[in-house]
């Protein structure tokens, strides 16, 4: 049995926590508001008229005016912004000018596709990138190090568009090892439509929950190539950063001490040194994940992947501002959310940050 804590001793601990939470919320709100404001202004500055995207070539001036009115574009810009923010606070992200569906529904449809792809790509990047970086750092200048650096360099410099198409041509077109573009083959896409209840919108998870393993396998065969391509870029970045963090760490005095004491080399590298680069590594991984979550428009185009990047880009070209703003809010929240998540991780892995 524990004794109830002394109320006096709680207060000083509770306050900083509450203040911490409030601070995070204020930061979140300020970030999102700033993001929205900038996006809104950009949307007004670009010389594309959203009304034209809706009414087409042949519309008369009267029809143009009617459409403009119904879109609320006749109001002053600040008023449009205020209305937008007010609605967004209640969860209403408006209606897409182009698809005529609520933006929230569109995002519910497109974001899970990106989330699924980005997560898998990041997992691939981490699993391959960290060991590669660590190994390269242990033997700088060796053949292995050169290979890791070369692979990283190629990853940095190859256009993703080209790599995606070549990957498709080889693994899908010629070898037939993987499923083609899109999240599912046509037949399975229709089965998914009819037989699988939507829970998360992520096909791998929803089909697993429903026990639809045939569709799951098909989805896996489709996602593996785009995830591999994005994972390659993620790996290139993570391995380079890991290498440089580790090189720095391995030159520290405590490492020399550990070695002099006769500690096995693998323990020096994988336990002592790697533990100390955890914090910057988390930052690198989270950043790379967040970037992937914005949606990669080129990869999504090549692989006909109905994700957020393609959605926002298509919307931008027709000045579909509700859709662009809705997408921006989601991307902003992802960034802020992942930042908070990495803060929590720091505290777990690094006692000094607690």
């Amino acid at each position: 049995m524990t004794t109830p804590p002394d109320p006096v001793s709680i207060r000083p601990r509770l306050w900083p926590r509450l203040r911490g939470v409030a601070g995070v919320l204020v930061a979140l709100a300020a970030t999102l508001l700033g993001l929205l404001l900038v996006t809104f202004v950009i949307g007004r500055v670009v010389p594309i008229d959203p009304v034209l995207a809706v009414i087409g070539e042949r519309a008369t001036q009267a029809q143009y005016e009617a459409a403009r009115l119904s879109l609320g574009l006749d109001r002053p810009v600040w008023e449009q912004f205020a209305i937008y923010v007010r609605d967004a606070l209640t969860g209403d992200l408006g209606t897409s000018i182009r698809t005529r569906t609520p933006v929230a529904d569109d995002i519910r449809r497109f974001f899970p596709a990106t989330l699924e792809l980005a997560t898998l790509a990041t997992i691939i990047g981490v699993i391959l990138g960290i060991p590669a970086g660590v190994l390269a750092a242990t033997k700088p200048g060796s053949l292995l190090d050169q290979a890791v650096r070369l692979i990283g360099l190629i990853g940095y410099s190859l256009p993703v568009f080209w790599l995606g198409l070549m990957g498709l041509l080889l693994f899908y077109g010629i070898l037939g090892w993987v499923g083609g573009p899109g999240r599912l083959s046509s037949g399975y896409e229709m089965m998914f439509e009819f037989d699988v209840p939507r829970v998360t919108g992520m096909i791998l998870i929803d089909t697993a929950l429903a026990g639809q393993w045939a569709i799951f396998r098909n989805a896996l065969s489709h996602i593996i190539l785009p995830a591999g391509v994005l994972g390659y870029y993620s790996m290139a970045y993570i391995s380079r950063m890991t290498r440089s963090f580790m090189m720095n760490e391995l030159s520290q005095e405590y490492i020399t001490t550990a070695r002099v004491k006769g500690m096995p080399e693998w323990r020096v590298v994988w336990v002592h040194a790697l533990r100390n680069v955890q914090v910057p590594l988390i930052t690198v991984i989270v950043l790379s994940y967040a970037t992937l979550l914005e949606g990669s428009v080129l990869t999504e185009t090549v692989f006909a992947w109905p994700g957020l990047g393609l959605y926002i880009t298509t919307a931008l070209f027709s000045a579909d501002m509700p859709a662009v703003l809705g997408g921006t809010v989601v991307v902003g929240m992802v960034f802020v959310g992942l930042n908070m998540f990495s803060d929590i991780l720091y505290r777990i892995v690094d006692p000094r940050a607690r």
């Binding site: 042949r58 143009y64 897409s96 083609g180 046509s186 037949g187 009819f194 037989d195």
Partner: protein, 534 residues
């Protein structure tokens, strides 16, 4: 999307069929036997409501969900055949049209098709007043008078127009999907705040077509299911699944792998790359788009008749068509696309720099002339613009390119703010008036008139007597005389207007070799899925 139990059962049946029918590759490469799988770039679709849709991909979809009173025969381009109206007639004075409805036809809902549905459908278009409504307002309908002018009377529909137009023109307009007949009971059951079902029709269909819309995800896919007992005879394939595949080379890969049956947006490079592949067949259809440049009449030097004339001789039509436009565009120098009544195939203009220089010198025009050419940022348009920039410069017309997104260039054009603009125009209904009314007519050229939908107005050009000639042509009841009138209008327009028509589009469609009976509709009609087999 919520699914009822019948759909779930269909899904199970489909699953079973797939397990048995597909190849052991297990990646599901083959398309299901009873489904036509099409890849196309469909992010242009703004609406799937017949009263509002105006983009090609949206119209192609509607053509398979709805029927019209009068139809075009998909197998004999341009030929009118009875649709939901069994027969029709026009009064002596040419003002009253009577359509007798086909008996025994039902909507997908099971409701019978009545003259009342037909009247409602046309009235709805006028009252909603969206972009394509102009196709019907040409007959003098307004939201106020349409209830009196379009009347259901038992099994017949009576339509009274405001002036004696050529009956063929009226029938041609009625084949456009804006005149599709919708299910009044179903649409009105879904009305919200007096919107005549507008909200509901964004994602649903209520027609008599060979197919019913099963699901529609904007910029992603649509799935159609064939109706049983369709009045025209049932569709050959039970389902049509169209996937939004934005990248042409991706479409090509999927076609070659057998993951899709039809690819609709191949580039000449893709087509060439598939030569020798026996599993794939490429069909060429003339498309309806006319690529042209237009010169703003407010620019005194550029709009000088001699400068316009010189420009016609400064475009390398053949050079472009035989190089980067090969397979995509053919030389075409008139505003009516091949396939239309009165279309002309002659090509009197070619690149002739000396002649252009002479024309400019004779008229005493001082060179160099500086001008801006506005062009949208798509590859083929940019290449055309660069070719024009190159050849114009040879006679001292220096062009600066102004590149922008499609809506941006269009916005500038509609506001009469361009100098020279490179554009493409697609017809809206299968009658020559569709292009004559915009290229060669302009009822009021004043800036305040704001006739932004009319190309002649956008270029601040008064066609003078061509306007009257076009008006006379749309009233002419004799088809041969009507053809001759459009031929004359086009020749004069070609030689004496601020428009320079250059090319007509070609649609190249890639199909698996086992696919038969798929019609794109070419320049005149829209895609038909119900005749396709595989």
């Amino acid at each position: 999307m919520l699914l009822d139990s019948t759909l779930r059962n269909r899904g199970a049946a489909l699953a079973a069929a797939l397990m048995l029918g597909t190849s052991p590759v297990a990646l599901g490469a083959a398309t299901p036997d009873d489904t036509l799988v099409i890849a196309a770039k469909i992010d242009d679709i703004v609406s799937i409501d017949p009263a509002e849709a105006f983009e090609f991909n949206g119209i192609d979809l509607l053509n398979n969900l709805y029927d019209t009173l009068v139809e075009l025969d998909p197998e004999r381009p341009g030929e009118l055949v009875p649709g939901l109206a069994e027969s029709w007639d026009v009064s002596e004075d040419g003002l009253t049209f009577t359509f007798t409805m086909r008996e025994g036809v039902t909507f997908a809902s099971g409701n019978p098709v009545r003259a009342e549905d037909a009247a409602f459908s046309l009235q709805r278009v006028i009252k909603l007043n969206r972009t394509p409504s102009f196709i019907l307002t040409q007959f003098g309908f307004t939201p106020d008078n349409v209830d009196d002018l379009i009347v259901a009377d038992g099994n017949t529909l009576r339509m009274t127009i405001d002036r004696p137009l050529a009956p063929s023109f009226v029938y041609n307009c009625l084949t456009a999907l804006v005149a599709a007949i919708v299910d009044k009971e179903t649409v009105m059951a879904n009305e919200v705040d007096g919107d005549m079902g507008y909200e509901w029709m964004k994602a649903n269909s209520a027609g008599t077509g060979a197919y019913v819309l099963q699901s529609y995800r904007p910029s992603e896919s649509y799935l159609l299911e064939a109706r049983e007992g369709h009045w025209r005879g049932d569709a050959n394939l039970r389902r049509v699944f169209l996937r939004h595949i934005p990248e042409p080379s991706t479409q090509r890969l999927m076609l070659e792998a057998g993951d899709i049956d039809i690819a609709r947006d191949l580039t000449p490079v893709d087509v060439e790359g598939m030569a020798g592949n026996d599993d794939v067949v490429i069909t060429d259809d003339v498309g309806g788009y006319i690529a042209y440049i237009a010169i703003n009449g407010q620019h005194e030097t550029l709009a000088h008749p001699a400068v316009l004339d010189a420009m016609r001789w400064l475009i390398d039509y053949e050079g472009m068509a035989n190089s980067f436009l090969k397979g995509q565009q053919m030389v075409h120098q008139h505003f009516l696309p091949r396939g239309y009544l009165g279309a002309l195939e002659e090509t009197p203009y070619s690149l002739d720099v000396e002649r252009a220089q002479e024309i400019l010198a004779e008229a005493g025009i001082e060179t160099p002339i500086n001008a801006t050419l506005s062009v949208r940022n798509s590859q083929d348009r940019m290449e055309m613009a660069q070719s024009i920039q190159n050849t114009f410069a040879q006679a001292g017309i220096n062009i600066e390119l102004s590149v922008g997104a499609g809506a941006e260039v269009l916005g500038e054009y509609r506001a009469r703010q361009h100098e020279i603009t490179l554009q493409a125009w697609g017809p809206d209904y299968p009658d020559p008036h569709t292009n004559a009314s915009t290229f060669a007519m302009n009822p009021d050229n004043s800036p305040d008139a704001g006739l932004t939908g009319i190309l002649a107005w956008r270029n601040a050009w008064d066609p003078e007597d061509l306007h009257e000639m076009a008006e006379a042509a749309v009233m002419e009841r004799d088809t041969d005389a009507r053809r001759a009138m459009y031929e004359e209008i086009q020749r004069r327009h070609r030689d004496d207007s601020p428009f320079i028509a250059m090319f007509q589009s070609i649609d190249q469609t890639g199909m698996r070799a086992n696919v038969q009976g798929f019609h794109t509709g070419g320049a005149i009609d829209n895609a038909t899925y119900w005749l396709a087999t595989k």
